[in-house]
C-alpha cells in the first residue's frame, strides 16, 4: 500500500481511501471485513499471545522477556495509575488503564510494522469504542463515588464562581464532560495516526516516483524524500507510544476528576 505508486509513471499520493480498503468478505453486512480489520485482528492476536505467554511463564524471579512485559505494566501502574489517581484508586483502575494502554499501543504500532503499514486506530471505530469505554467508566466512577446528584453538582457547578455565571458555565461544563472529553479522546488518536500514515506514505510514494519515474536529475530528490520517510518512520514509533500514553493518562485524569472529593 505504501509503494502503490510503482510502475505506471505517475505520482500517486496516498488518499483517505487507504483507510477504507475494499472488503475481503461479508461485504455490505455489519461484519464486513477489510484490510484494516485484518490488521486489527492480527495486532490483537499478537498482543494476546505475547501477554498470555508472559503471564503463563510468570515467575518470582523474572527473565528478560518477563522483565520487558513487567516494565510496560509497571510504567502504567506507576507513571499513569498511581501518579494520577493515587495509591488506592490507582490500584483499582490499573486493569482498565493497562488494557487501554496496551491495546492502543499495539494498534498504533502497526502503522510502522512492515506488511501491515496502517494503524488499527487510524479508522475511527476503534478509537470510538475505547473512548466510550473510558466515558462509561468515568461516568460510572463519578456516580458511584458521589451519587448522580453529587456527581452532576461536582462536574457542572465549579465552586468559587458567582452564581450568575452558572448560566454560562453549566452548558460549557456539560458539553465538556458529556461530549468533548470522549470525542477529543477518539479524534485525537485517530487524527494522529491518519496524519502519520499519510506523511509516511507520501514520503515513500514520492521516493518511488523520483527514483523510478522521474527524469535525470530529479532522481536526486528521491534521496531527500527517502531520508524524510526514514525520519518519519522513527517519529511514528514515538507518536504511537506517545498517543497510547496520552490516551491512558487522560483516562486516568477523567477518572480522577470524577472520583476525587468535592473541590
Amino acid at each position: 500500500m505504501l509503494l502503490a505508486a510503482e510502475g505506471d509513471g505517475e505520482f500517486h499520493a496516498p488518499t483517505v481511501a487507504d483507510f477504507f480498503p475494499p472488503a475481503i468478505f461479508f461485504e455490505g453486512t455489519p461484519f464486513e471485513f477489510n484490510r484494516v480489520m485484518l490488521v486489527r485482528v492480527i495486532a490483537a492476536v499478537v498482543l494476546l499471545t505475547v501477554f498470555v505467554i508472559a503471564a503463563r511463564r510468570a515467575k518470582l524471579v523474572p527473565g528478560r522477556f518477563q522483565n520487558a512485559i513487567e516494565m510496560i505494566l509497571d510504567f502504567v501502574r506507576n507513571s499513569i495509575a498511581v501518579e494520577v489517581l493515587g495509591k488506592e484508586n490507582g490500584r483499582k483502575y490499573f486493569p482498565l488503564l493497562a488494557t487501554i494502554f496496551c491495546t492502543v499501543l499495539v494498534m498504533n504500532i502497526t502503522t510502522v510494522t512492515p506488511f501491515l503499514n496502517i494503524a488499527g486506530t487510524s479508522v475511527i471505530g476503534l478509537p470510538i469504542v475505547l473512548a466510550l469505554w473510558t466515558y462509561v467508566m468515568y461516568l460510572g466512577a463519578g456516580v458511584k463515588a458521589h451519587g448522580v446528584g453529587g456527581f452532576l453538582k461536582n462536574s457542572l457547578l465549579p465552586p468559587g464562581v458567582p452564581k450568575a455565571l452558572y448560566v454560562l458555565l453549566v452548558p460549557i461544563e456539560a458539553l465538556q464532560v458529556f461530549i468533548l472529553r470522549p470525542a477529543t479522546l477518539a479524534i485525537r488518536l485517530m487524527a494522529n495516526m491518519v496524519a502519520g500514515h499519510l506523511m509516511l506514505a507520501i514520503c515513500f510514494a514520492a521516493t518511488s516516483f523520483f527514483l523510478f519515474d522521474a527524469a535525470g536529475g530529479m532522481k536526486l530528490f528521491g534521496a531527500g524524500t527517502f531520508v524524510a520517510g526514514f525520519a518519519f518512520f522513527f517519529f511514528e514509533i514515538f507518536v504511537a507510544a506517545l498517543q497510547a500514553y496520552v490516551f491512558a493518562i487522560l483516562t486516568a485524569v477523567y477518572l480522577n476528576l470524577s472520583v476525587e472529593a468535592e473541590h
Binding site: G9, E10, F11, H12, A13, T15, V16, A17, F19, F20, F26, T29, P30, F31, E32, F33, N34, V36, M37, R40, V41, A44, L47, L48, F51, V52, A54, A55, R56, A58, K59, L60, I69, E70, L73, F94, P95, A98, T99, C102, T103, V123, I124, G125, L126, I128, V129, L130, W133, I187, M190, V194, F209, A214, A215, M218
Partner: protein, 203 residues
C-alpha cells in the same frame, strides 16, 4: 512532466474525499469489529493476564519483605554476638591482668625469701670456716710447740754435746727458749741470734 502528475494527484485526493465516507463517521462494521477486539482483549487482560501478574508481583513483594525481615534479624543477632564477644574479650583481659599482678607479687615474695635464705647460709658457712680455721690454728700451734721443742732439743744436745735427757731440765730449757722467742717475735733475724746464744749459754 512534473506538473501534470501532481495536478492529477490533487484531483485524485479530492475525488477520494468525495466518494469515501467521512473519516469521523464510523461504519457499522468498523464499530462491530472494534468492539469484538476490545471485548476479547479486555476479557483476557481482566480475567487472566493482569491477575496473574498481580499475583506474581504480590508474591515477590512478600518474598522481598520476608527477606528484609530475615536480614534485619540476622543483623541484630550478629550485633548481639559481637557485643558478647567484646564483653568476653574485656573479661579475659581483666583476668589476664589480675593473674599477671598476682604472679608478680608472688615472685617478689619468693625472691625476698630466697635472698634471706642465701644470706643466712652464707653467714653460716663463713662462721663454720672461721671456727675451723681457729681450731686448725690451735692444733697447729700445739703440734708446732711440741715438735719445735723436740727438734730444738735434739739440735741443741748435738751442738752442746750434753745430754739433755733429764726431763725437768729439758722442759725448763725449752720453756725459756720459747719465752725468749716470743719476746723477740717481731724481728726474725734478731730472734734467731739470741735463741742461738741462749742455747749456747745454756750449754
Amino acid at each position: 512532466m512534473m506538473i501534470s502528475p501532481l495536478n492529477t494527484s490533487t484531483a485524485d485526493v479530492l475525488a477520494a474525499e468525495e466518494t469515501t465516507a467521512n473519516l469521523l463517521l464510523p461504519h457499522t462494521y468498523d464499530l462491530v469489529w472494534s468492539l469484538v477486539i476490545v471485548v476479547i482483549v479486555g476479557l483476557v487482560f481482566y480475567r487472566y493476564v493482569l491477575p496473574k501478574f498481580q499475583a506474581v508481583l504480590d508474591e515477590r513483594t512478600a518474598k522481598i519483605e520476608g527477606g528484609l525481615a530475615k536480614a534485619t534479624e540476622a543483623q541484630e543477632e550478629a550485633a548481639k554476638a559481637l557485643e558478647e564477644y567484646h564483653r568476653q574479650l574485656a573479661e579475659a583481659r581483666a583476668d589476664a591482668a589480675k593473674t599477671r599482678e598476682e604472679a608478680r607479687a608472688e615472685g617478689t615474695v619468693i625472691v625476698a625469701e630466697l635472698r634471706a635464705k642465701a644470706q643466712e647460709e652464707a653467714s653460716r658457712i663463713v662462721e663454720t670456716a672461721h671456727r675451723q680455721i681457729e681450731a686448725e690454728r690451735q692444733t697447729a700451734a700445739v703440734s708446732l710447740r711440741s715438735e719445735v721443742g723436740e727438734l730444738a732439743t735434739e739440735l741443741a744436745s748435738k751442738i752442746v754435746g750434753e745430754s739433755l735427757q733429764d726431763a725437768a731440765r729439758q722442759s725448763r730449757v725449752v720453756d725459756r727458749f720459747l719465752d725468749e722467742l716470743e719476746a723477740t717475735q717481731g724481728d726474725e733475724s734478731g730472734a734467731q741470734a739470741p735463741a742461738g746464744s741462749s742455747v749456747g749459754k745454756e750449754g
